[in-house]
Symmetry: C2
Subunit: 323 residues, 2 copies
């Protein structure tokens, strides 16, 4: 999101460009148990880009032992189309990941630290400060490389272990990222705890603590309010949102609940609201159908099931009940 994340503080005006960063190939695929063949991953990624998606977190350079599903990160990045102007990013956990990513010609890397000490400890077995200290080497490596570093902050709206995460804590980490050289941070709603109030508070706290730092928002729809949180983000001037094709992904603490907000539903919302996403909804739904067919199960996306808003029906059909 480095190139695109929002700096505005007024509501995003109608017609303004919005960047929707597709994260399904990373955040969604990583929790799939069965290995998705590399060629299939590439086919889905290319279909997503062909719909007009302008930014994508294509893969993750984590240990292949930790996440075997993404062990083909290099092969995926070597095989995909790279549309003119598209921003290609990858998640990296550490310096080794950054070196691998840099070798693949990504436009940006995405680091992650949790805003909750307990979650960070569980996730990467170190303190928040230790994680941020480790990232210094990543920023040094990529300084003047043309590869941006997006500072990811997980559990930014709440932690499944600690509960409330103070916005000041999120802002403190954002400021550290800015000092390290990040041009943007991405606030991750790791377990689906974001609400309009927590989104507003976090965005405002960062703007106060780290003026000029771009902000991207990454919501899960675990409790059904993901797109309501996007409405708050838009009201706060944020122009960068992560989403996942078909609503792929999930929260391990909410069995049966949906995962990331769904890219098609988000694009539908934004396009119908007059924003410029650059994405053709019909082609995007086609990419979601391809994803669904590849994974062999129904995905939670709603537009995927219901089709575009102005799909017309023959009045000869049985009408709906009133209401």
């Amino acid at each position: 999101m480095a190139a695109t994340a929002s700096l505005q503080t007024a509501p995003v005006p109608e017609g303004a460009p919005i960047t929707v960063c597709e994260v399904g190939p990373r955040d969604g695929f990583q929790i799939e148990a069965a290995f998705i063949p590399t060629a299939k991953k590439i086919e889905i990624i290319n279909a997503l880009f062909a719909s007009g998606i302008r930014a994508m977190q294509v893969t993750s350079f984590v240990s292949p032992r930790a996440v075997p599903q993404l062990a083909d990160a290099e092969a995926v990045l070597a095989g995909i189309d790279r549309p003119e102007g598209a921003l290609i990013t990858a998640l990296i956990p550490n310096l080794k990941g950054a070196e691998r990513a840099a070798g693949c010609g990504v436009d940006a890397v995405h680091t992650v630290v949790s805003a909750s000490e307990t979650h960070n400890l569980k996730n990467v077995n170190r303190s928040i400060d230790a994680s941020l200290k480790d990232f210094e080497a990543v920023f040094t490596l990529l300084d003047n490389s043309g590869i941006a570093v997006e500072g990811g902050i997980a559990t930014a709206f709440g932690c499944p272990f600690e509960g409330i995460v103070p916005p000041e804590q999120v802002a403190r980490i954002a400021k550290r990222y800015q000092d390290l050289g990040a041009t943007s941070v991405g606030l991750g709603d790791t377990t689906g705890m974001a609400t309009p109030a927590t989104v507003r508070a976090a965005v405002r706290a960062i703007r106060a603590e780290a003026p000029g730092l771009g902000i991207g928002l990454h919501f899960h729809n675990t409790r059904g309010v993901g797109l309501a949180c996007v409405m708050t983000g838009l009201a706060e001037g944020v122009t960068h949102y992560d989403a996942s094709v078909g609503g792929l992904g999930g929260c391990p603490f909410a069995a049966g609940a949906t995962g990331n907000i769904c890219t098609e539903d988000l694009i539908y919302l934004l396009n119908e609201s007059g924003y410029d996403t650059g994405v053709d909804l019909d082609r995007l739904v086609g990419a979601a159908r391809l994803t669904q067919a590849t994974l062999g199960r129904e995905l939670p996306g709603q537009v995927l099931k219901s089709g575009p808003r102005l799909r017309r029906y023959d009045p000869g059909l049985t009408a709906t009940a009133a209401g």
Copy 2:
């Protein structure tokens, strides 16, 4: 919604009361194929009221031949608890329905006409003007009875046959309702075509055409944007929303898509945003579980699956992947 529907034009301030009208027992139950025993309906309705729900569309006085599921309307209304201050409404299609409803001591009746000629013709086999003309007898019957008439407008945000429904057409019908004596109208998103832009346009058109008329909003989540539309309603000062326990209900034109916006998810959104709904989320989720058990299938509600926001987990559990 007569007693509660919004008259404000500024955004609803934090802390303000919001009326969530539960419509599951009418809009949800009516499409269930298997008859739900009257005692079970009463148990669910009472559980919903016990959670703090302040308004409910309890049943419908349509022909028992047309909707056998709601043939027990009188028995349901005779059997339920009626908490102090709760608004009890019923849908009525015509004068006969109004007479039956009045005999059951409802607080308000809800009429329905479609904003689309084609849809109204399909639904009730008459023109919009003929429907409104028919309602004159309903208003006459209930004049000075203490029973309010809420003017329902179906397909207010789009029609599956005609496509776009002009906001001026919605406002024209709203004005006719106001002239007949309605104190509020309810805008129905019958097949899930509402978007923030269409909601804003319809609300503003009604305020311009029929000043002083209350407005309630009834969204379906067919395309995933139901709660985003609520955010727009709140920004436009609307304080009355319909929703359905567990997300019951559905749109016959979108197989597999969700139905009405889900009451628990809406209450979660509103409570977390600092509005006064009067509803205890835990008790409401209990009522949704009862509904789910009664119907014997999983309902689309998300909070029902994921639990409250601040549910805490033992860090000894396996943590989530980053992001």
